[in-house]
């Protein structure tokens, strides 16, 4: 029998989106958890009952319009809100299962476990070496000078800065370019082997090339760290994170995989924000 084959070609299906490094973080237990977290600045409530799990070895982005509470929430994870007069945090934030707001917890120790990188690079007015060595020294992480040097070199290498500064470790940290200064701050943050790294708009003061280098660094760091990044740059959130949380008016509106948030978010408000329809 001869088969007349004039019909449409059937069974051809496009390959699914491929990713060299699939997002498997959600399968691991969360590194940090927030339960019913509210923040008040005096009488004003800035954050309303936020519940969120932050997975380990993963980048989570917080997005939302100005004043939505994303930076306030970020600062809850290393008790930075303690330094603001009149600020109160209610609820529970656990890192590795331990509530960091328990009375027996020393906020200084919390900040050793939870590193932070700020919007503007803020190196100490000291040498490049001292900028990175400072944390490990005050936390007693290095027994000998050789140990300390090893930590400094390793941190600078991890921050992708060592090759650029290895011949001038004694130069002032502030003598570096903006992008280099920010990577120095990241090296300083990881020198104390934190469990979580918080980044509050780490690239907003950097040019596109420096931004690309920091983003590449973030992608490399996520193999070993739990990273949370606050960004106003939606495309940056889409590029660097695996999960995204959208905040609006002090509420966590939606949290999901970054793919889902940027292709088909569940909530209308998320859709309107990421497509630029309000903000």
């Amino acid at each position: 029998m001869v088969e007349i084959s004039v019909g449409p070609v059937e069974g051809a299906s496009p390959a699914g989106p491929g990713s060299a490094r699939p997002d498997t973080a959600y399968k691991r237990p969360p590194k940090a958890t927030a339960r019913n977290v509210s923040v008040f600045y005096g009488e004003k409530q800035a954050l309303f009952g936020v519940n969120l799990d932050i997975p380990d070895r993963n980048v989570m982005a917080f997005i939302g319009p100005s004043g939505c509470g994303k930076s306030t929430f970020l600062r809850c994870f290393n008790r930075m809100n303690d330094t603001i007069t009149g600020a109160r945090v209610k609820g529970e934030i656990k890192i590795q299962g331990k509530n960091i707001y328990d009375p027996d917890v020393d906020p200084v120790q919390v900040r050793a476990r939870v590193g932070m990188v700020f919007q503007k690079p803020n190196p100490f007015p000291k040498s490049i070496f001292e900028n990175v060595a400072y944390g490990p020294r005050i936390h007693g992480l290095a027994k000998t000078k050789a140990d300390l040097e090893e930590i400094v070199v390793k941190s600078l290498k991890r921050a992708g800065l060592f090759e650029e500064v290895k011949d001038r470790l004694d130069s002032e940290g502030t003598s570096l370019s903006g992008g280099q200064q920010q990577r120095l701050c990241i090296a300083r943050a990881i020198a104390v082997s934190p469990e979580v790294i918080l980044m509050d708009e780490p690239c907003s003061a950097l040019d596109p090339i420096a931004t690309a280098k920091v983003e590449e660094l973030i992608d490399e760091l996520r193999e070993n760290y739990c990273i949370v990044i606050v960004t106003h740059n939606m495309q940056q959130a889409a590029r660097v994170s695996q999960r995204t949380a959208f905040f609006h008016l002090g509420y966590l509106v939606e949290e999901d995989t970054t793919d889902q948030i940027f292709t088909n978010p569940t909530e209308r408000r998320t859709q309107d924000y990421i497509t630029g329809r309000f903000g």
């Binding site: 029998m1 001869v2 088969e3 007349i4 084959s5 004039v6 019909g7 449409p8 059937e10 939606m234 495309q235 889409a238 940027f262 292709t263 088909n264 978010p265 859709q271 309107d272 990421i274 497509t275 630029g276 329809r277 309000f278």
Partner: protein, 242 residues
């Protein structure tokens, strides 16, 4: 969907919709005229259809250019991104509908002086009307962003398949009975297949619209009833009544 506060961006998204609407209108006209030209043996009308196809092709290029430009300049996400990608996909389907209509028109010119076998031509008119309805409905579904109409189009394609099966049998029988007119019937058979393919493209557009609105694809395998690609002669072998 609320308007985008950047008016130029909103204008570009609307332009895409307008071009798709224009392409759809031209494709509808081309198909209708091609069927009329074939049915009435009107080579003049067929020539007009060929001109329509050139306009459709030009619009497809414009859709591609604008879509690529928006993606490059505005980094669209979520529903905006779906609208742009889907405009490109729908433009491809409409361009194919234009091509298939043009092919019917060319065949109408080739057989302009041939006989008009009444029963076959009536069948032709029916399948043509069904395809026209599907195309009109799916274009309405797009302009109204109506997933319900799109789903209906998607489900109704098997009616066209059934009509095509029936025409296929009739044309094969006619070829056997009148081998001297095999050329005429071959042209009619290809034309019928073109219309059946136009139905498939309308169904593709329906799937695209569903994805545009819901952000997910239609999961189920679409019911397909065109048996002719697996059959030598329907009704005369294992897949037919035997």
């Amino acid at each position: 969907m609320a308007e985008h506060p950047v008016k130029a961006y909103e204008g570009e998204l609307k332009s895409l919709d307008t071009m798709i609407a224009q392409m759809g209108g031209l494709a509808e006209q081309a198909l209708g005229q091609a069927i009329d030209a074939l049915y009435h043996r009107d080579p003049g009308l067929a020539e007009i259809t060929l001109e329509k196809d050139r306009k459709i092709d030009a619009l497809e290029r414009s859709v591609d250019e604008l879509a690529i430009s928006i993606i490059a300049r505005r980094a669209p996400v979520a529903s905006d991104l779906r609208q742009i990608i889907n405009a490109i996909r729908i433009a491809v389907d409409l361009e194919r509908i234009g091509d298939l209509s043009k092919n019917i028109a060319k065949r109408a010119i080739a057989i302009a002086t041939e006989a008009r076998p009444t029963q076959v031509m009536t069948g032709f008119l029916h399948i043509g009307e069904a395809a026209m309805r599907q195309l009109k409905d799916v274009l309405d579904a797009y302009s109204q962003r109506n997933a319900g109409i799109a789903l209906k189009v998607w489900q109704q394609d098997q009616d066209i398949d059934a009509m095509y099966n029936s025409l296929y049998c009739e044309l094969l029988t006619a070829m056997m009975e009148e081998p001297q007119s095999a050329g005429l019937y071959a042209h009619l058979l290809f034309s019928a297949k073109n219309i059946e393919r136009i139905g498939d493209h309308a169904t593709n557009i329906a799937e695209t619209i569903y994805f545009l609105i819901h952000g997910k694809t239609l999961d189920d395998e679409r019911p397909k009833s065109d048996m002719t690609s697996r059959t030598l002669v329907l009704g005369y072998n294992g897949t037919g009544k035997g």
